[in-house]
């Protein structure tokens, strides 16, 4: 589904050059949950951004359904992102001035008629367990778990094929974490793909395939439950 070929990215800090991603190649298959673990600052988010078409790599290609997304013009690339990829972040990245409903509808606000879009957004919110009386609330007035559920509803509004999650449960308590993970499992079970970055063992174990990103290289490919024991052995 997504073919990552020889992906490299270097950052310059003062006069030092740090190669944060080094020649990574990976094949992402449809309907799989990929978890990427690794210490802070190892380039996990950079990897996600490159895959999502947000950050031009120095070298390598991201091939989505046969097309290198970095060969596309901004408008087409944005459309690829909008229609195929959903994003979930640790800090939710909800727009503080928009209502819950507006935040969910935002990705498609210029693509679909308002009425049908808001009906879709409402059903998406109901699906993630947000009650109607919250629809007009500002994100500030909600709990972390609710915010993340809204972020998931926003990520799913365009019915994407891939969900990119950057520490989606990092700011949540156990209860809310489980709710979110269950929602992600539902998404994966509907045949969609998840690429997730996390530090949390339990969360990582929800994935089908786990990678460890270290020194710019995706080191190992492991089955779930083995990753953290392997990490601790190291």
């Amino acid at each position: 589904m997504i073919e990552i070929r020889d992906l490299s990215k270097t950052y310059t800090h003062l006069s030092d050059k740090v190669k944060i991603l080094n020649n990574i190649s990976l094949s992402i298959d449809k309907g799989q949950w990929y978890t990427i673990i690794g210490p802070s600052g190892t380039g996990k988010s950079t990897f996600l951004n490159c895959v999502a078409g947000l950050l031009q790599p120095d070298e390598g290609e991201i091939i989505y359904e046969g097309v290198n997304i970095y060969s596309l013009k901004d408008k087409v690339k944005s459309e690829y992102r909008r229609l195929n990829i959903g994003f979930i972040f640790q800090d939710f990245k909800l727009l503080p001035h928009y209502s819950v409903l507006d935040n969910v509808a935002l990705p498609l606000i210029y693509d679909e008629p308002k009425k049908s879009l808001y009906t879709k957004a409402k059903s998406q919110l109901e699906m993630v367990g947000i009650k109607e009386q919250m629809f007009n609330r500002l994100p500030e007035a909600l709990s972390g778990g609710e915010k993340q559920r809204i972020a998931i509803a926003r990520a799913l509004i365009a019915n994407p094929k891939v969900l990119i999650c950057d520490e989606p449960t990092g700011n949540l308590d156990i209860n809310n974490r489980n709710i979110i993970l269950d929602l992600l499992s539902e998404f994966k079970n509907s045949g969609k793909t998840i690429i997730m970055v996390t530090h949390d063992e339990e969360v990582a174990n929800r994935g089908d395939i786990i990678y460890k990103l270290s020194n710019g290289i995706l080191e190992e490919r492991m089955k779930k439950n083995d990753a953290f024991s392997l990490e601790s052995n190291n």
Partner: protein, 813 residues
């Protein structure tokens, strides 16, 4: 803490630089603005003080002599004494003159339109018998008018020196045996009366020739015929010539003088002109039909030879060129006939004064004319004789072009058609163009013609005034009030200037005449003072609002950091100090830069004081604004309409206020400036004043413009910077760069347009209550569109804030 503050300044390089630049502008431009407005005020005051006073200060006329048009347009026309009605006696004038507070009281009386002696034009005696046909023309600069019917004279080649043979119909003239004389047509010129000494004091012109004795020899015959008649001595204006042309046709014809002698019943020795008049007329009729052998036509300009009361006889030589004549004829038969003319009857229509033809003719008459006196040919004893005894030459200097003192009798200002063609008064009494007095007589002579109250106006110069300033105005007003109480019609002309009045003249079209606008100096002073006050108030208000607004949104943008610092245990006082220390830094850097720049451009010491004053006020404002606690309830529900506008109102509102006041400042400033310049340029004094201060005012205007743009740029930059993560989010969720830009433009244009519109409406309300002209209000409104263009420009360049350049990181590694 200092390091923390400094780091924040450095980390926001662009924002910090813009703020420093704007503050630098304020520290520098306000003192320059104040200095310039002071210089502008001084320049206006000086121009008016130096140039505002004309030849005299007060125009005194008999009660009820102010015309309808003067009341309507608030101006005095140049020929204000034109109707010769009089109304002030010599005794009354002397009483005014005796007032010690009056330096000069110069009376003037319009007597009417008089004619000088006619002189002859001698035709050439050619080798062949010739039929001469001629016609005299005058011109008003635009059209030619015939002054006489075509006349003819037939010359016979058999003439001998001293015995010229010719035939001509005579009109009140005698025939010369030696020369072929034709008389110039009668032309009429304004005669005015003055008091020699007062007029000399007023104008510095020598009128002493009016005291000359006349040559009694030339009047002897008349006095012998009619008995003793008062003789009115006239001095003629030296620089006036009568526009007059002779169109002469010379037809060579084959004639045998013997045939005509027979026809005229004359012998071979008889002179042809000794024949009976009826026979001559009959023969000339025949001769006019006679075939010509050859014809030549000539246009001969006699203007330079002809003066109002003292024409010069000329001779046309065989080459049809003009020479001075040695033998000539002169005719004073009509000099005892004169005309008085009523004032022009103006009708105002659509702000244009119309003048209708009263009597068609060559040229047409625009005034009602009354014929007075008797021709000497009528055989009735005339009431007077006039005799030219000398000349005078009025001076026209620069002052009289800036300030106007309508002298009534020296009118030299040009009246032009809309195409710029200069029109001149014609030689008939009914011309609509004010005729300068062609001749002057004494007041005593005026009494002979006009009776006991001959004076039409007295021009008063107040004593003890060297400059036209407030004290001078008070002195003039005091005297004017006294004269008003004495029952005169009084106009203060000090501080007056020329102003063009557009007249629609029947048969000519639109013409522009320089009239005298009363009290223009005071009006100028008031207008410019008003503009300076408005500029200063708007500029200072703008700066104050800008500064408070930017401090408010700075405070709002620091809210999140403040919360964080509170969480990690910073006391509130320390947080506040951190916040205002940054502003102190920025202020101080800008202040030091501006002070250094002031030293380079060598501003006055007062500029440093003003800058330091601004610094202190700014410090105080920072302390107040950053210390005030904000108590706002946290909102749970989203706004239904324009959520971003309401959510970011703490930042947007101050920006809107800045936009509103910038728009107002620019529109009001441009419209008032333009209107004041326009108003000033209506008069020559105003033009002079504007020339001197235009640069200063323009600098203030440009400064205001630059500061508005800087302020606005800083506000918008901060707003977009604050919302940077929001724009990134749009990018992440799949909006293209164009879509984000459109979304932002739409949103920004909603509130910027609202502020600009509000600014436009407010400025229009202000301007409609002032004397700003619609044209300049429109220019002001159009200029404010620069702000809107600038907003669009800022939004476009803010793309850098919105879109993350390829290859850079946008979220955490």
């Amino acid at each position: 803490m200092m390091r923390l503050v400094w780091n924040r300044i450095i980390s926001r390089k662009l924002v910090s630089f813009t703020i420093i630049l704007a503050l630098f502008g304020i520290f520098l431009l306000i003192p320059i603005g104040f200095q310039n407005t002071n210089e502008t005020k001084l320049a206006v005051d000086n121009s008016i003080a130096e140039q505002g006073r004309g030849t005299y200060d007060i125009l005194v006329r008999p009660n009820h002599s102010r015309t309808k048009v003067e009341k309507e347009v608030g101006m005095v026309e140049e020929n204000y004494i034109g109707d010769s009605q009089g109304g002030i006696s010599i005794q009354e004038w002397e009483k005014i003159k005796q007032n010690p507070a009056i330096e000069v009281a110069a009376p003037v009386a319009s007597i009417g339109y008089f004619s000088g002696k006619k002189t002859s034009v001698e035709l050439p005696q050619l080798d062949e018998s010739t039929r001469f046909t001629w016609e005299f023309y005058t011109s008003d600069g635009q059209k030619e008018y015939s002054l006489s019917e075509p006349q003819s004279l037939v010359y016979f080649k058999e003439s001998e020196p001293g015995n010229t043979q010719y035939l001509k119909v005579l009109h009140n003239e005698t025939a010369s045996g030696a020369t072929l004389d034709v008389m110039l047509p009668q032309t009429y010129h304004l005669l005015a009366a003055i008091d020699i000494e007062s007029e000399q004091n007023l104008t510095n012109v020598d009128y002493s020739e009016l005291k000359n004795e006349f040559d009694s020899f030339s009047l002897d015959v008349i006095i012998k015929t009619f008995g003793n008649i008062p003789v009115i001595k006239v001095i003629q204006r030296e620089d006036i010539n009568i526009p007059i042309k002779m169109k002469l046709k010379a037809d060579t014809i084959e004639l045998d003088i013997s045939d005509y002698r027979k026809k005229l019943s004359l012998t071979e020795e008889d002179w042809l002109m000794s024949a009976e008049r009826n026979k001559i007329k009959q023969v000339i009729g025949e001769l006019n039909k006679k075939k010509t052998a050859s014809t030549s036509e000539h246009e001969i300009d006699l203007t330079s030879f002809q003066k109002p009361f003292d024409g010069t006889a000329v001779k046309i030589n065989n080459q049809f060129k003009v020479d001075l004549a040695s033998d000539f004829a002169s005719d004073r038969g009509e000099t005892t006939v004169y005309y008085t003319a009523e004032k022009l009857d103006y009708n105002s229509e659509n702000d244009i004064l119309n003048i209708k033809i009263i009597e068609n003719g060559q040229p047409p008459s625009y005034k009602k004319i009354v014929k007075k006196g008797e021709s000497l040919y009528n055989g009735v004893k005339p009431k007077f004789l006039i005799e030219q005894v000398g000349t005078f030459s009025p001076k026209v200097d620069k002052e009289s072009k800036l300030s106007s003192s309508p002298m009534g009798i020296y009118a030299t200002s040009e009246i032009k058609t809309e195409k710029g063609q200069v029109l001149k008064p014609t030689t008939v009494p009914g011309s609509f163009i004010p005729q300068p007095a062609g001749g002057l007589i004494t007041l005593k002579s005026a009494e002979i013609l006009k009776g006991s109250k001959p004076i039409d106006a007295i021009r008063v110069r107040v004593a003890g005034i060297s400059k036209y300033n407030k004290q001078a105005q008070q002195k003039i007003e005091k005297i004017a009030t006294e004269l008003l109480q004495d029952g005169y019609e009084v106009d203060i002309v000090a501080g007056s200037s020329f102003k063009n009045a557009t007249l629609d003249v029947e048969g000519i079209g639109k013409v522009v005449a320089p009239w005298t606008t009363l009290g223009v100096a005071q009006e100028l002073e008031e207008n410019w003072n008003g503009l300076i006050l408005l500029t200063t108030i708007l500029f200072v208000t703008f700066v104050l609002v800008w500064f408070v607004s930017r401090l408010l949104f700075e405070k709002n943008s620091l809210e999140k950091e403040d919360e964080l610092l509170t969480i990690i245990g910073w006391p509130r006082e320390k947080i506040i100090r951190r916040n205002y220390l940054e502003q102190y830094f920025l202020l101080f850097i800008a202040y030091m830069l501006s002070v250094s720049f002031m030293a380079i451009i060598k501003l006055e010491v007062s500029a440093y004081f003003i800058s330091s004053g601004i610094l202190i006020i700014a410090f105080l404002l920072i302390n107040i604004i950053f210390t005030i606690k904000k108590n706002r309830m946290k909102r749970l529900e989203a706004y239904k309409h324009s959520p971003s506008l309401f959510y970011y109102r703490d930042i947007i509102m101050p920006t809107m206020v800045i936009l509103f006041i910038s728009t107002m400042l620019i529109v009001v400033q441009i419209a008032s400036f333009g209107s004041t310049i326009n108003k000033s340029q209506e008069s020559t004094l105003g033009q002079f004043t504007v020339d001197g201060i235009f640069g200063f005012q323009l600098l203030v205007l440009i400064s205001a413009f630059i500061l508005s743009i800087l302020g606005l740029s800083e506000c918008l930059n901060t707003l977009f910077y604050t919302r940077k993560s929001e724009f990134n989010m749009y990018h992440i969720i799949g909006w293209s760069e164009r879509r984000i830009l459109l979304h932002l433009s739409k949103e920004t244009l909603v509130w910027t347009s609202f502020s600009i519109c509000l600014g436009l409406i407010t400025s229009c309300i202000i301007l409609f209550n002032t004397e700003a002209t619609i044209g300049w209000i429109v220019v002001g409104i159009l200029s404010s569109s620069v702000i809107l263009i600038f907003v669009i420009f800022i939004v476009l360049i803010s793309k850098n804030f919105i879109i993350i350049p390829k290859g850079e990181k946008n979220i955490n590694v």
